[in-house]
């Protein structure tokens, strides 16, 4: 037997080593941003710009009292429910339409229109239709997420490698096997791109719907604080919102790492193509 070179999986370790250094730089950037924020609140006064320390103590006390968690969990439920209701059909539809190119073509201008329309402007309409309860917020999140994920899933289905399909058919794969073993796994990276973009929009959509009309949620908290000229309260709610987005990002990352283990690390892409 000939000896052929062993392939080492050291690329990932290198990345991990690199991220340790970038973590330090990120920390430095955070300190600088906090310093700028502190500076602004000195210049304009805490009446207009709540100081970082003030925001932190406010956040801590409202976490302890459970108030912020009550609002945050409400917003989170809206975002998660809307995300699922929007994303699941958005992923399913391109697969269902894969064998129906004519239907896809008929739908296309409407989908492009739906994608381009400012969804946040629909919020008043949804409040009229679904009331000021949780339903109108979920609807707004769902429609925002749907169009983003639809187009990325569609791109994934279209990026299908015809040679892999032919190979599978020669080996005896039927239409269902092709969809399950080739089309879907091939589209997963594209779907993840869509989910990653849609995730902050789902939180943002929920918060904005609450700004317009609600009696709970982080958007409501922002609106209430602003009406009371309580900028520290506004900032505290914004920080809480950002934390949710950050957590959402981490969950997408974790899911992606698990589902896309097979993908070559970026710097090896050239080799993988040969």
């Amino acid at each position: 037997m000939a000896t052929w070179e062993r392939v080492d999986g050291r690329a990932r370790t290198r990345q991990a080593g690199g991220s340790l250094r970038s973590r330090g730089d990120q920390l430095l950037a955070l300190v600088i941003l906090l310093a700028i924020w502190q500076g602004l609140s000195f210049v304009y006064g805490t009446y207009w710009v709540g100081s970082p320390w003030g925001v932190a103590t406010r956040l801590a006390s409202s976490v302890l009292s459970g108030e912020i968690l009550r609002h945050a969990s409400y917003t989170l439920i809206e975002a998660v429910a809307g995300f699922l209701i929007g994303a699941i059909p958005a992923v399913g539809l391109p697969f269902a339409l894969r064998r129906l190119p004519i239907v896809t073509a008929i739908l296309d201008p409407f989908m492009v229109g739906g994608y381009g329309a400012p969804k946040l402007a629909l919020a008043p309409l949804f409040i009229l239709w679904f009331g000021i309860g949780i339903e109108s917020k979920i609807a707004l999140v769902a429609i925002t997420v749907f169009f983003i994920v639809y187009f990325s899933a569609l791109a994934g289905v279209r990026a299908l490698d015809a040679k892999l399909v032919q190979m599978a058919q020669v080996m005896g794969a039927n239409e269902r096997d092709v969809a399950r073993h080739i089309v879907f796994p091939g589209a997963v990276p594209y779907i993840f791109t869509g989910l990653r973009i849609a995730m902050p929009y789902s939180i943002g959509g929920a918060v904005i719907a609450e700004l317009i009309s609600a009696n709970r949620g982080l958007g409501y908290l922002i609106q209430l604080s602003a009406m009371n000229f309580d900028t520290t309260g506004v900032f505290a709610a914004l920080v809480a919102t950002t934390c949710i987005v950050f957590m959402g990002n981490c969950s997408v990352d974790a899911a992606e790492r698990r589902l896309l283990r097979w993908r070559p690390p970026p710097e090896l892409n050239m080799q993988a193509g040969s």
Partner: protein, 265 residues
């Protein structure tokens, strides 16, 4: 000759479908005829762009012919009707393509087991066969690696045994070792002959390398430049088992090489 050939090609012609407002493309293959017998190792040699891949695609029923006849086990393939094709003819024709076409989201083992999975033939016996083949081509220890973690030669081995694992009676090979370095190629040729000796499948092996065509085949067909026709046929009586590395020193080699060389343009 009482036994009909396993695979028969008669007056086969192919040109590709045209788009509106354009002249039809010229013939890629024209009036090509040959036959393959059961258990034969046939090598086909031809210059680049002579329609070798197109020919194999038609044999595997991935593509349909424009005219003529392709007959496998006395069943004729549909002509000019891509929708009626039956790729791989119910798993009886295996096809090792030029690119490895491994599924990037499946590990080596999962890729090798893929045909068995879709054919519903995954059991202890077939799993053991997969493991045996992985060992035979030296991929032991790489079962859990993804294709991007393997070298080009290893990917080729995986793609080769992925077809061998479900044991189709005929295997088509399209320059499977073309993109490899000489050392790895010789190694893979030896592996292939060793595996072939175990089962004596029918193999149709396309290449542009004359030495490879002589080293592997029982018979070599030479294709002309496009449109492809048979430019020559050479029986190869070099006894088996063959020594791939020393094939050039065999007494029959120079004459065979010269006569093939004269026909390959």
């Amino acid at each position: 000759m009482a036994v009909p050939p396993l695979l028969e090609v008669r007056d086969l012609s192919k040109r590709f479908a045209t788009r509106a407002g354009r002249d039809p493309s010229s013939w890629v293959i024209q009036q090509l005829s040959f036959s393959v017998h059961d258990g034969e190792f046939l090598t086909i040699i031809g210059p680049s762009g002579s329609g070798k891949t197109t020919l194999l695609n038609m044999l595997a029923q991935i593509d349909s012919a424009s005219d003529g006849e392709v007959r496998f086990q006395s069943v004729t393939a549909p002509i000019n009707d891509p929708k009626a094709l039956n790729p791989g003819l119910s798993c009886k024709i295996g096809y090792v393509t030029q690119e490895d076409n491994l599924l990037p989201w499946r590990t080596t083992l999962e890729n090798v087991l893929f045909p068995l999975t879709v054919q519903g033939r995954l059991n202890e016996q077939t799993r053991a066969r997969a493991q045996m083949l992985i060992g035979a081509v030296g991929l032991t220890g790489f079962e859990k690696h993804y294709p991007h973690e393997l070298s080009g030669g290893m990917r080729k081995r995986a793609s080769l045994i992925r077809t061998l694992v479900y044991d189709p009676p005929v295997i088509l090979m399209d320059e499977p070792f073309g993109a490899l370095d000489a050392q790895t190629r010789t190694q893979l040729q030896e592996d292939l002959l060793r595996l072939w000796n175990l089962g004596r499948k029918t193999i149709v092996f396309v290449t542009h390398d004359i030495t490879e065509a002589i080293a592997l085949g029982d018979r070599t067909l030479v294709l002309s430049k496009s449109p492809a026709r048979i430019a020559g046929e050479h029986r190869n009586a070099i006894p088996r088992p063959r020594d791939i590395r020393g094939i050039m020193t065999h007494q029959d080699f120079p004459a065979l090489y010269q006569s093939i060389r004269a026909q390959v343009q």
